[in-house]
Symmetry: C2
Amino acid sequence: MPATPTTAPTAHPAPPTGAAASRQHTLRERNLSLVASAVYEATTPPSRADVAAATGLTRATVSTLVDRLVAGGLLAELPPVVAQRAGRPAVPLQPARRTLVGLGLEVNVDYLGVRALDLVGDVVAERVVTGSLHDSDPGEVLARLRGLAAGAIAELEGAGMRVAGARLALPGLVDARGARLEVAPNLGWSSVEPVPVLDLRAGDGSPLDVEVANEAKLAALAELAGDVPSSFLYVSGDVGVGAGIVVDRQLFLGQRGWNGEIGHVVVDPAGPRCSCGATGCLEQYAGKEVLLRGAGLPASAPVHAVVDLLRDGDDAALATVQRAGRALGSALATFVNLVDVSTIVLGGTYAELFGWVGHVVAGVVEERALAAPFAPVDVRPAAAGPHAALTGGAREVLRAVVADPAVWV
Amino acid sequence: MPATPTTAPTAHPAPPTGAAASRQHTLRERNLSLVASAVYEATTPPSRADVAAATGLTRATVSTLVDRLVAGGLLAELPPVVAQRAGRPAVPLQPARRTLVGLGLEVNVDYLGVRALDLVGDVVAERVVTGSLHDSDPGEVLARLRGLAAGAIAELEGAGMRVAGARLALPGLVDARGARLEVAPNLGWSSVEPVPVLDLRAGDGSPLDVEVANEAKLAALAELAGDVPSSFLYVSGDVGVGAGIVVDRQLFLGQRGWNGEIGHVVVDPAGPRCSCGATGCLEQYAGKEVLLRGAGLPASAPVHAVVDLLRDGDDAALATVQRAGRALGSALATFVNLVDVSTIVLGGTYAELFGWVGHVVAGVVEERALAAPFAPVDVRPAAAGPHAALTGGAREVLRAVVADPAVWV
DNA sequence: GACGTTTTGTTGTATGGCTGAACTATTGCG
DNA sequence: CGCAATAGTTCAGCCATACAACAAAACGTC
């Protein structure tokens, strides 16, 4: 720019505005990513010709790109299927198995764990340890997590796989660069930089790419593995209530990745006081501990205990869950009005209680969402299993690989 | 020369299968856009060498690209300034004046109008007609707007300018393609397709690229002309209350562009009934007509009348405005928690009343926004003048031109 | 005021990556 | 068995950029 602040005149300084110049090399990187994505996102293993048709590239170009990806261990050729039509049989392509893996890490209030996924989505390693981490010591907990992760990495590399990186899910506010946890109220952590503490390394000693992210956001990404629309809202119900916004299969993060804090939406200004200082926050109606206590159970009981009470037709449990459903519905209607998505995925606690809260939430949302008459809002339970954030974190690493495969070939 | 309908990505969500193959031609288009943007966004007219340094391209490449843009009427060379240092003096580059223009159109409750901006941001044509359009007939009103626009287009083309396209701002829900207005409660319109009704054409008869968008969102874009951070929330206070979310200088639209409907956020479930069917919506506390009536004025009075009362220390006006400020603050805190931005720009009615509502809003937001302790929320009045959506619409057209200049050279 | 220095902008020539068309490979079908 | 159909490969051509040398237009300095 004209008055370039501090640019050295000699070297190749990165452009300040983020948009980089396109050279021929850029072109190849983009098309490499395009081809990788086409294979990665296809429902049936496509041939080179299929990829060419899907991307608009010529078969010649696709061939060279595919060859490179196969050599780099990102794609694999399957044995040619017996064709039922004329012509040379196609060679189906698939993401490679057991070559590159992504690591999902998580520290949450009730457990900590590691999960590794390869490019086809298979879980190739997993270690989960349960136990309360309420008001725990970050250094001590992260050291334990480091142990779990190091074990998994050693096991994976022993089996000939490369670890592409890791994502650490935490139930709190994480800064923009994915380096620093500002605060996680339910863990009792604040101002923690977990990456250097974890200090994860590959077998050859080279440091692993590790980034921290919010738990609800990574859990949202786990849903993308299943049959879900390209835009949705994921609500993670636990002790706190968080959310992830996915638009066009991509996380929307806002300015600093601190969006989706639905737990502190005002449900009723005259409601009970919340730990955040305000009154009538959603968490005071639909937080896990409030739900448990409302059903007459200790705050540390498993959610399944509430389900048992509901099955028995317990009045207190039913009333509490309905009250929570109405509050959640009201908050979600606000969310839908402000963010505009037509699918809401209820995860965590709410997935378990879906049979009892689902229709209550859907009813209130339908009533208050402005766009509902034109596009009804679909409320559904989460499809990803337990510890969804682990899967989401691992998937996120692999997504980054597919989005920029040049580094790995 | 003809106003070719552009396929450039506009303010609306891209189709799902976005990524296209990159060929050499793509490369040139991208770099052309990069160079155009560099000049367009620079604070001081940069030289070719400055642009090369900023983009990372070589001076040779920048030269050929700039030459093409100059020939196409997107850039202009300024007379070389007398250099105060050694070396051949640089030729400063600027967006071209009076060559390509963007058209902003608007139909709102109190007025309709047209405004044309050229690439340097000068207003080169304007026609605004005031008068109530409450419960008006779409066909009749759009015919009047068509007259205004056609007059402006003829005037501009008479002066040798090309019209690149137009954006029509409407106070309601607009569909994803920017073609159809679903509903605009305060106009009493629903299910309108304004583009064929307007049927705007260039002098040679070729159809103009016209897209419809929400008024608050286009008004938000108008703020980008001034000194505003790259991410902010714009709130447009009028009869209804809408908002635009800008992240990284780009509108965030959600799945279908229906986000930001803050007017129907629940402030108090026990509050008054709203026209949308629910109770206690923000609009019932901070809508323009509620404000006016609360101050003892007729609903059709200008906002300035309230300012006069406030200056005189009128108790009813003061109480009403403070109540509105608290409600708005509460809704905005929710917004900030859900979307994560640290700057709130108050526009429309609230810009005029800023001296009285600003600190009230800021106080409530600071209290309820979860991230406030780490990053205080800045609440400020809008900088763009009246009818901001007109400016925003025109700017949006020009942004699309700069983002894909290949069509216009 | 001639000359070296510095910075800008403009020539060439080289190179990398994609296209398009021709070619080979492998099947089904009559 | 020959032909049509489809998949994948080879190779010349093209296009946009990089790189390097050069021309242009200032300043500084003795």
